[in-house]
């Protein structure tokens, strides 16, 4: 048992393992149940999982050090270790909240469209739990091969989600997503085998301790980073994201854009700040930031030119991912300001998750009510669907980086770090990104607030689903009240080591 | 001992000859049925001879179980290649019968194992 367990809460290592296997416990019986029972069981598991995630967060805060667990009692390098430091705990809680909201949003209520048969709802609930288990594992696993299996579990759950409606365009998008993601994960595997060949261990922390700059490590990190960039759809590797995220059913695209896309990014942060030696991180930082900047500028411009609402939001995801890559050169430099950049990046990761999930849910409700996805036909919608447009607007507010949203605080933190570390072009890109985000958000919100030219014929939409979207948007706004200083919570468990806790 | 090695060498060599004949038949013969005929016959006898050649070596070195496995493999192959050849022949025959034989001999190509 490691770390001082909070009274009343089960020990930290049990919670860690629970976070991974609880969704599996929920998933497996679903095969035997009908879709109504499946829904109820999933919502129950979602609630329990949220409690576990919050428990882990509390344990890490109370113990002031990372929570650790060893599978089967075997310590690395032989066994597999799970470890949740400050950042992992934040990611676990973020994922739990977003997926609970998605569950509520996708719940069949009086006004939700009747699913044609058992296939869609049952498959959706199973895939949701799989996504959750995989994400939790990605955030806590410290073993490179376990991370590979977790990433594959995530991809195999995300691909069917994309083509759940079964239309031809979506299946083509899902196929393209699957094969490109596989290309990425096999490159990651190539990196993993080289790391094992060099250091005889797959554990990130032990490998980091033995890591020294050598051709093998360089090729390994290059392959792993390229693989993760392919799975994170960083520009110019974003071919699969727009069709996949816009084609998926609304609840699924909310999940995909908000949390599934964050797993490979989290791993990149894990590699470049825990595993790789400082000298390599400084060399690679500019390349990652350069591609991130290209992503922000290019994908925002293309988002401005989109005619369909969901495609606009999907391109916005591709652009916002660019911000997260701007963090690497800032966080790699060993200075007080890099801690601020590190906090800004984590905050952007979280606030983008909440605001993007809210925007996709709102877009789904708007498409349901109006019957089409074209931006042109949305004039005057603000009066008909005020709550959905408000959710979309508040989410957009966070993307634009305007106070009082979380996106604003993250932008200020990254800007301050960029200014102090002298990366002027990063500061400029952040500002231009905010402008372009303003462009493509206001392009939808402003016509919605005007008076409709012709009265809109709307199909009824369940009120509580709109409030779920608005609640998520309000959480993104709530993140705006995070203090503008390096967060102590995120510093727990850094630099990573197994030393603390049980010897 | 020398006789043993001689026997093994001879058998394996003969087996190889049959395999070569089978492959030559595959490349040279015109239509699927005759190719199947060549392959099924030649490869089976080839494998039989090689198994025959290897058996004494194994028995001599005391690995009786391995020898039994080699024989089992040979038997399984007899069975499966015979049945598969039969199936392919049925398909080839039905295609040539119904004239579904595509002009560019795709069916013939499909006949190839």
């Amino acid at each position: 048992m490691s770390g001082g367990a909070l009274p009343g809460l089960p020990p930290a290592d049990m919670l860690l393992v629970l976070a991974v296997i609880l969704p599996l416990f929920g998933l497996l019986p679903l095969l035997l149940l009908g879709s109504r029972l499946a829904e109820r069981l999933t919502l129950l598991v979602l609630a329990a999982g949220l409690a576990v995630a919050l428990g882990i967060g509390a344990e890490v805060a109370a113990a002031g050090q990372a929570a650790t667990a060893f599978i089967g009692g075997w310590r690395p390098p032989l066994g597999v270790g799970l470890r949740a430091d400050g950042l992992s705990a934040v990611m676990l809680v973020m994922t739990a909240v977003v997926l609970c909201a998605t569950g509520l949003y996708a719940m069949t209520g009086p006004a939700t469209p009747r699913a044609a048969g058992e296939r869609m709802p049952t498959a959706f609930w199973m895939l949701l739990l799989c996504v959750w288990s995989a994400l939790n594992l990605v955030f806590v696993a410290e073993d490179l091969f376990t991370l590979y299996v977790a990433l594959e579990l995530l991809t195999f759950a995300a691909v069917p989600l994309v083509c759940l409606d079964g239309k031809e365009g979506q299946i083509e998008a899902a196929l393209r997503y699957l094969v490109f993601a596989l290309f990425g994960s096999v490159l990651y595997l190539l990196g993993t085998v080289l790391i094992y060949a060099l250091y005889g261990t797959l554990d990130i922390i032990l490998a980091a301790r033995r890591a020294s700059v050598s051709p093998g490590l360089v090729v390994a990190l290059a392959a792993m980073t390229a693989g993760m960039m392919a799975k994170a759809a960083l520009f110019p590797l974003h071919l699969w994201l727009p069709p996949a995220h816009s084609g998926a059913p609304p609840a699924a695209s909310a999940m995909l854009s908000a949390v599934v896309i964050k797993a490979p990014i989290f791993l990149l942060v894990r590699f470049w700040l825990d595993l790789a030696p400082e000298s390599l991180a400084v060399k690679v930082g500019p390349i990652l930031a350069g591609l991130g900047a290209a992503a922000i500028l290019m994908c925002s411009l293309v988002a401005l030119a989109q005619h369909r609402l969901k495609l606009l939001i999907a391109y916005s995801t591709a652009a916002q991912i660019g911000y997260l890559f701007l963090m690497f050169p800032l966080a790699a430099a060993a200075s007080a300001w890099s801690a601020l950049a590190w906090t800004g990046g984590a905050l952007h990761l979280a606030s983008h998750a909440f605001s993007k999930a809210a925007m996709f849910m709102a877009a789904g409700l708007i498409a349901e009510a109006v019957g089409h996805d074209r931006i042109k036909g949305l004039t005057g919608l603000g009066r008909a669907l005020p709550v959905s447009v408000a959710a979309f607007g508040l989410g957009g507010l966070s993307l634009m980086g305007l106070p009082p949203a979380g996106g604003f605080v993250a932008k200020v933190m990254l800007l301050s770090a960029a200014v102090h570390l002298g990366n002027w072009w990063i500061a400029l890109v952040i500002l231009i990104g905010g402008l372009l985000a303003g462009g493509y958000v206001l392009r939808v919100v402003v016509p919605a607030l005007q008076r409709p030219a012709a009265p809109l014929a709307l199909r009824p939409v369940a009120g509580w689903r709109e409030w779920v979207a608005l609640a998520l948007a309000l959480v993104a706004v709530g993140l705006g009240f995070v203090p503008l200083e390096p967060s102590a919570y995120l510093a727990i468990g850094r630099p990573a080591s197994w030393a603390e806790g049980a010897p | 001992m020398i006789a043993l090695h001689l026997l093994t060498g001879l058998c394996v060599l003969a087996g190889l000859v049959f395999f070569a004949a089978g492959t030559l038949g595959l490349l040279r013969l015109p239509d699927p049925l005759t190719r199947l005929h060549a392959l099924a016959k030649a490869d089976n006898i080839g494998l039989g001879l090689i198994a025959l050649g290897v058996l004494p070596q194994l028995v001599a070195s005391g690995a009786v179980l391995a020898a039994a496995k080699v024989v089992a493999i040979w038997l399984l192959l007899q069975l499966s290649s015979g049945a598969v050849a039969q199936l392919l022949a049925e398909v080839a025959f039905r295609d040539s019968e119904t004239g579904a034989d595509d002009p560019d001999g795709a069916a013939a190509e499909a006949g190839e194992p």
Binding site: A226, L237, Q450 | -
Partner: protein
């Protein structure tokens, strides 16, 4: 600094902001929105009370570190807050009558209340982060007032306004980040941040961004294009508030963020020249306008130029008194301009006989703005003479007063035309009292209030003004302006009307270029999203990463 318990005056300061904000958000509910216009009357009262009761210099820490949300009432803030509260109250009464048969008045009142909350907050907050929050609130909520009518022109004006507002926000956040980071701690007070400006390494960049960001809100050339568009399309009470108060957010920004005691000659001169140029430019374009509201909008551009000039002079000389004098001038402009916009509405609604009365009132307001002796405007002009000094700038300042007189004459002329032709059915009808009374009260206050405030703000006696030499100095620019107006009235020159947002027309050329850029981006994106290019890109990225991390000596064995 009463951090713990919130005293009576602290609560008053807080409620000045919270009451309009809460009412505005509550008005989102349909049944509250029906009472919107009446709520709009109640909302400014706490602010008015705060200005009257709370001693100047009082500040309250709402949320302790690391947020440090603080409100503070300093001299310029109190002046502008008082004027704003008064104008919101009277314009609110006016708007209730003006919009009584407009179906969308509920929505208008939501934007009205939110802009009010933002405006009061901008004048009160004392820390950087909440200033940015208040500034963003007043800027984006004002969009609702501008783009109220559902006409194509209103939508275009709204788009231009939003584009420039988002640009302004980006510039300001960059400046605030650099400003705040020179002081330790998460969210410094504006005072401390500005104090740290002297030795901050990016002083030039910060000042540049601050000046551009705030003068864009004030409508200084060349970033004034949005103001004539927005103020012309807004309904009359909306234009009054936009031109009167929302523009002052830029003024208070400059007052707060420019170092009072650190003489910066070049930045000061730059602001001074830009201000003076805008003063004359506004008058020149305003004269060609055919609608009284657009003429007034250009007059605001011109007057804000004067305020910028005053602040520039103060910055150049490091004169600590300049900000409060500029605030006094801005207050005078706020009330006069508000009254003039309301006059347009009253003129529209009254028949020919009553129109004469309205025209006389408007003329008085115009002359007061121009600085005719014995009017409030003269006091304002006299007050700002000190920082600008007697040199070339002083003369130009006086000349701009002449220009303003000319523009005001044009405005009265347009008002007369507008009055007769606008509403023949009005016949002998008199403007409804709900419009007439608030306008009359506002005009009276606008002309007389400076007399009460002159000595406390400037510390000078009134005597100097009423001396013969003072009268002469105030009179000749006005006389000159009237003479030229009479001359032009005889032989009106054939000058075609310059479209509102004058130099915006130049940007029409930009539109196809922008569209070209978008389609190029889409084509590049479509190209990159083919499988062959993406797969190749992935492998090239891997190779690039490896090469970037590699060291040259690893290739040594290849060529020993």
């Amino acid at each position: 600094m009463t951090a713990g318990t919130l005293g009576g005056s602290d609560l008053l300061l807080l409620s000045a902001i919270l009451v309009p904000l809460v009412l505005g958000l509550a008005a989102l509910k349909p049944w509250v929105r029906r009472w919107g216009p009446t709520l709009a009357l109640v909302a400014p009262l706490p602010a008015l009370a705060a200005v009257l009761l709370v001693p100047v210099g009082q500040s309250v820490l709402l949320v302790p570190a690391p947020f440090r949300l603080t409100l503070a009432l300093d001299a310029p803030g109190a002046l502008l807050l008082g004027g704003a509260a008064l104008l919101w109250l009277l314009a609110g009464i006016y708007a209730r009558a003006y919009l009584k048969d407009d179906p969308e008045r509920g929505a208008f009142s939501v934007w009205w209340l939110l802009t009010m909350a933002g405006a009061f907050a901008v004048f009160l907050v004392a820390d950087v982060a909440s200033f940015y929050l208040a500034y963003a609130l007043v800027s984006f909520a004002a969009y609702g007032l501008a783009a109220h009518d559902d006409t194509a022109e209103a939508r275009r004006a709204g788009r231009v306004y939003l584009a420039l507002t988002v640009l302004g926000e980006a510039l300001l956040i960059a400046a605030f980040v650099m400003l705040a980071s020179s002081v330790s701690g998460a969210n410094p007070l504006i005072r401390d941040a500005v104090a740290g400006l002297a030795q901050s390494p990016w002083r030039g960049a910060i000042l540049g961004l601050l000046l551009v960001g705030f003068t864009m809100k004030m409508g200084l050339f060349p970033l004034h294009v949005w103001m004539p568009l927005a103020h012309a399309v807004a309904p009359v009470p909306g234009s009054a508030v936009l031109s009167g108060i929302v523009v002052k957010a830029g003024v208070i920004g400059l007052i707060r963020f420019l170092p009072a005691d650190l003489p910066l000659a070049q930045w000061g001169m730059a602001l001074l020249t830009a201000g003076l140029f805008t003063a004359f430019y506004g008058v020149a374009i305003g004269l060609t306008q055919s609608h009284p509201k657009r003429a007034l909008a250009y007059s605001t551009v011109s007057q804000m130029g004067v305020v910028a000039a005053v602040l520039g002079a103060g910055l150049a000389a490091g004169d600590a008194a300049a900000p409060s004098l500029a605030a006094f001038y801005a207050l005078n402009h706020m009330l006069l301009k508000g009254a003039m916009f309301l006059a347009v509405g009253v003129a529209m609604a009254s028949g020919p006989r009553h129109l004469r009365l309205v025209l006389i009132g408007a003329a008085v307001l115009g002359l007061s703005l121009a600085g005719l002796p014995f009017t409030g405007g003269a006091l304002a002009k006299y007050a700002v003479k000190a920082p600008v000094g007697e040199g070339g700038a002083g003369i130009l300042l006086a000349l701009s007063a002449g220009g303003t007189t000319l523009l005001m004459a044009r405005y009265v002329l347009l008002l007369a035309a507008r009055g007769k032709g606008a509403d023949p059915a009005a016949g002998e009808a008199e403007a409804p009292p709900a419009l007439l009374v608030p306008w009359a009260v506002l005009s009276g206050v606008a002309v007389l209030l400076p007399f009460a405030l002159f000595t406390p703000v400037t510390g000078l006696g009134l005597g100097g003004l009423f001396s013969l030499e003072g009268i002469i100095k105030g009179l000749w620019p006005v006389a000159l302006g009237l003479a030229v107006a009479a001359l032009l009235y005889q032989k009106p020159p054939k000058v075609s009307e310059i479209p509102a947002g004058d130099i915006l027309a130049l940007t029409q050329g930009l539109r196809p270029a922008l569209r070209g850029l978008l389609s190029a981006a889409v084509r590049l994106d479509a190209g990159l999203r083919h499988w062959s290019s993406a797969a190749l890109a992935l492998v090239l990225v891997m190779v690039a990463l490896a090469v970037a991390m590699g060291e040259p000596q690893w290739l040594q064995p290849l060529w020993p």
